[in-house]
């Protein structure tokens, strides 16, 4: 029997348990349900949960553990999880029915079970983080056993070749990542900030109700769309109208292409965060400044923005974390050449591009060329995590100040 059908059988038993439990409770008091501690449905649910929950848990644990034990138990043990699960289900059903008496506090039991389930679901967030960290760390350790960590973190050459003799230095990738992110912030921060300022301080409600959702649309567009936009439209446009005439070479994929498009993508991100933060500045400060005879723009530049500065710094940090982790725009717009250069019209590459490059297609999980992706992933994760934690801390401190 496949796990799917075992699961179905267990669930069928649980449904059976529901009806048996409810009927037994009714029977125990001769149909006078006022004499029960809980309503009959709770006895039903109690029996159903007692049947299904432990059985499914056993099934899941044994299914996960079996591949690890397979070496000793051999393939003959494949009936084990299913058999054990059905057995547990039957025992659970019998026990629940045996305990179904008018005094039994079925509702309390059911509610306790639900609460355990709620907590279990909440722990998935922690499990996800743990899973991410474990998978990154384990494979990275693997990688560092095959390749010296000094050469990875401080190497300036990136020339992977599956034949061996690869140079896997991270620095050129890091440079490309930071350069592109810098350009993206250079585009998105002023535009996003000015858009937010105009929207919250000047725009009439009608203008705001039109412009704000339209800018938010930019945030709803998937990154692959921006990637294609960079590859098909912006790249050639920059090459033909800017780079080539000015003698900056003729590469469609470039730091500028990726940075510009990523900047557009980040505009709504920066503007909506800044909007929230600017609106958190108390109106009394604006009144105080205006009453002294300052113009609205002086009020914004000299009172509102300095007051909002920590929050805006937090928003920029979050945007930077976004930019560093962004993948599709750089995969399609930045190019694949790992190099150090200041020329923004040259193709360069980033950490995320190389993670995709090394892990797409058929992988050999024993070669450093594949495993390096996990070390790159770990670097990326640590960088973005640090930025996020810092940004959330700064923003929280900022909010507390005006609460």
């Amino acid at each position: 029997m496949s796990p799917f059908w075992i699961m179905m059988t267990v669930l069928a038993l649980a449904v059976l348990g529901y009806f048996l439990g409810a009927a037994r409770a009714r029977g125990a008091v001769g149909g006078d349900i006022r004499r029960l501690h809980s309503r009959p449905v709770y006895y039903g649910w109690n029996a159903a949960i007692a049947t299904a929950a432990p059985a499914l848990l056993v099934l899941l644990v044994l299914m996960l553990a079996l591949p690890l034990l397979a070496g000793e138990a051999g393939p003959g043990a494949s009936w084990l999880p299913g058999g054990a699960a059905l057995l547990v289900a039957a025992v659970g059903l019998a026990l629940a029915l045996a305990r179904t008496t008018p005094q039994y506090r079925a509702r309390a039991m059911v509610e306790r079970a639900i609460k355990v389930a709620l907590i279990g679901c909440s722990l998935i967030a922690i499990a996800t983080t743990v899973g991410i960290v474990l998978s990154l760390v384990f494979e990275s350790i693997h990688f560092f056993q095959l390749y010296p960590w000094q050469a990875f973190f401080f190497g300036t050459e990136w020339t992977p070749s599956f034949g061996g003799g690869s140079e896997l230095g991270m620095l050129p990738l890091l440079w490309g990542t930071l350069y592109i992110s810098f350009i993206a912030l250079l585009v998105s921060v002023p535009i996003g900030l000015f858009a937010a300022i105009y929207m919250s301080e000047y725009a009439t409600p009608r203008v705001r109700s039109v412009a704000k959702p339209l800018i938010e649309v930019l945030a709803g567009i998937p990154t692959i769309v921006y990637g294609l936009f960079a590859l098909v439209t912006v790249g050639p446009l920059l090459r033909d109208w800017l780079a080539a005439p000015l003698g900056f070479g003729n590469s469609g994929s470039s730091v500028m292409t990726a940075g510009l498009v990523m900047g557009i993508m980040l505009i709504p991100f920066v503007s909506s965060l800044s909007d929230d933060i600017i609106n958190a500045v108390p109106q009394s400060l604006r009144d105080g400044s205006l009453a002294l005879g300052s113009t609205p723009s002086e009020t914004i530049r000299q009172v509102v923005l300095p007051a909002a500065l920590p929050g805006i710094v937090g928003a920029v940090l979050l945007a930077a974390s976004r930019a560093i982790g962004e993948t599709m725009i750089v995969v399609l717009g930045a190019g694949a050449m790992a190099r150090f250069s200041l020329d923004p019209f040259e193709a360069m590459t980033t950490i995320t591009v190389k993670i995709v490059g090394q892990l797409t297609g058929d992988n050999d999980f024993s070669s450093p060329e594949t495993l390096v992706a996990f070390a790159l992933g770990l670097t990326l994760f640590v960088m973005t995590l640090a930025l996020n934690v810092l940004a959330l801390y700064v923003v929280r401190k900022y909010r507390e100040q005006y609460e």
């Binding site: 907590i119 679901c121 722990l123 996003g192 974390s321 973005t384």
Partner: protein
């Protein structure tokens, strides 16, 4: 208690009083700065909006062609001697006839048609005629004959898919000049195509196949479709919905209604806010390492993609669900508790139903985000070339499939530039889905919005 010293001159720095009706030069300068500042704000908004318009414009310009395709309508005689040499009309035996032979049939039919219509084109070679049809056209014809052996020996007029270059001539992608330097087409072919169009044998019409067909290989972009990708995306969305909605709601209920203020709760909260900002590609690495390498789930399968996207979408759903739960006024809870309901009954009978519209809106937004996600799916092998539709669920969840955004990426990596049109077309489909989902979310919000 006065501490104004008398030696300080009165009104140090006092401005010279002038009429209010005439602005002084400094005020004029400051007002000019004010106007400039305002213009910067307007410019910023205009730049953002222009970028949006330009983006959508280019995508629609480049992609709309994918929904129209050029078909050849000429009589094709299905020679029994070619497709059924034994003459017994047995599909099993006829299956032995290679697709190549059907190509010869099509080529012969075109040659006949050219002669019958007395078209003379200088330099028209046999190769030009052969490459006039898409490689897919022969396969389609073969499938049709095998499905219906009665057709053998008859003459059918079936719209046959034209090759990508011919199609390009009708969409402006291929011109007479570019045909001359392209070794996969020729000027003669160009002229023939024009002649055929004038006689009604070549027409461009709406192309449902783009939506329904599976992907096609490098040398037949004209046949590539989104069928497998749409199905794969739909499967993944189903998995995300079935997993993320209950888990997200359960987590939110726990955190919002039951959780005590302790270290564990703090840890969960911090985890959720951090997961919301982890780069999507890291989730792809998690999927590869945990679901494929460790748990042994198949590569390229919607189940893995669905699980990864579920983990990614959870924070979004949790954040919006918690907001929806928070918006339910405490008086409702007090009322329910007041008539003797348990805490659990209060939440499930009263709070949750009232928060449902908000939860659903947030879920749809989360699904829309998951639908457009590309990077993690690349790592779990969704980028593979898949031409067979996955089976119906639940088995189909384990079959290889593609996904809409990954299909876009896939097509951008092909050599033939005709695939770019397909990629843009696929984006139009993707954006249409996203648009529909967002409209649904807005309608839900408007319809059920409650003011307390």
């Amino acid at each position: 208690m006065t501490d104004v010293p008398s030696d300080l001159p009165k009104r140090v720095g006092a401005p010279a009083r002038k009429s209010l009706l005439t602005p002084d030069t400094r005020t004029k300068r400051r007002n000019a700065a004010e106007s400039r500042f305002k213009v910067y704000g307007i410019l910023a908004i205009l730049v953002a909006l222009l970028a949006l318009v330009f983006l959508l414009f280019t995508i629609i310009r480049d992609g709309s062609g994918a929904f129209r395709q050029t078909f050849i309508s000429i009589p094709v005689t299905i020679e029994a001697s070619v497709v059924d040499p034994k003459g017994n009309r047995d599909p099993a035996e006829m299956a032995g006839t290679l697709t190549m032979s059907y190509g010869a049939l099509l080529e012969q039919s075109l040659t006949n048609w050219v002669e019958q219509n007395d078209i003379r084109i200088e330099g028209l070679t046999e190769a030009d005629l052969a490459s006039f049809f898409s490689a897919q056209a022969r396969a389609d014809l073969r499938n049709r004959v095998l499905a219906n052996p009665e057709l053998v020996g008859q003459t059918v007029e079936t719209p046959a898919l034209a090759a990508s270059r011919i199609d390009g001539m009708f969409k402006g992608r291929v011109t007479r000049e570019s045909a001359a330097i392209d070794n996969r087409t020729s000027v003669a072919q160009y002229d023939l195509a024009e002649a055929m169009r004038d006689r009604g044998a070549l027409a461009t019409r709406f192309n449902w196949d783009f939506i329904t067909r599976p992907d096609a290989s490098d040398n037949r972009p004209e046949a590539a479709g989104l069928g497998v990708a749409i199905l794969g995306s739909a499967y993944m969305m189903l998995i995300v919905l079935v997993l993320a909605l209950p888990i997200g709601v359960a987590t939110s209920i726990y955190l919002e209604e039951f959780a005590p203020k302790n270290r564990l709760t703090d840890l969960i909260e911090i985890n959720i806010s951090n997961l919301a900002a982890v780069p999507s590609i890291v989730f792809g690495i998690l999927g590869l390492a945990a679901f494929i390498n460790f748990m042994g789930l198949p590569r390229s399968a919607p189940i893995v993609g669905g699980l990864v996207l579920t983990l990614m979408t959870l924070p979004t759903i949790i954040i919006s669900t918690r907001a929806a739960l928070k918006a339910v006024p405490p008086s409702i809870r007090d009322a329910a508790l007041g008539v003797g309901a348990s805490k659990m009954q209060t939440v499930f009978h009263h709070v949750l139903p009232l928060a449902m519209p908000g939860i659903l809106t947030g879920t749809i937004i989360g699904l829309a985000q998951a639908l457009g996600e590309t990077a993690p799916l690349l790592l779990i092998g969704m980028v593979a070339f898949v031409t067979t539709y996955p089976a119906a669920p639940p088995e189909g969840f384990f079959d290889a499939a593609s996904a809409l955004p990954v299909q876009v990426y896939n097509w951008t990596q092909r050599a033939d530039s005709a695939f770019f049109e397909r990629a843009s077309g696929a984006i139009i489909v993707l954006l249409a889905f996203l648009f529909a989902m967002n409209v649904l979310a807005i309608v839900l919000r408007r319809r059920f919005e409650r003011r307390w």
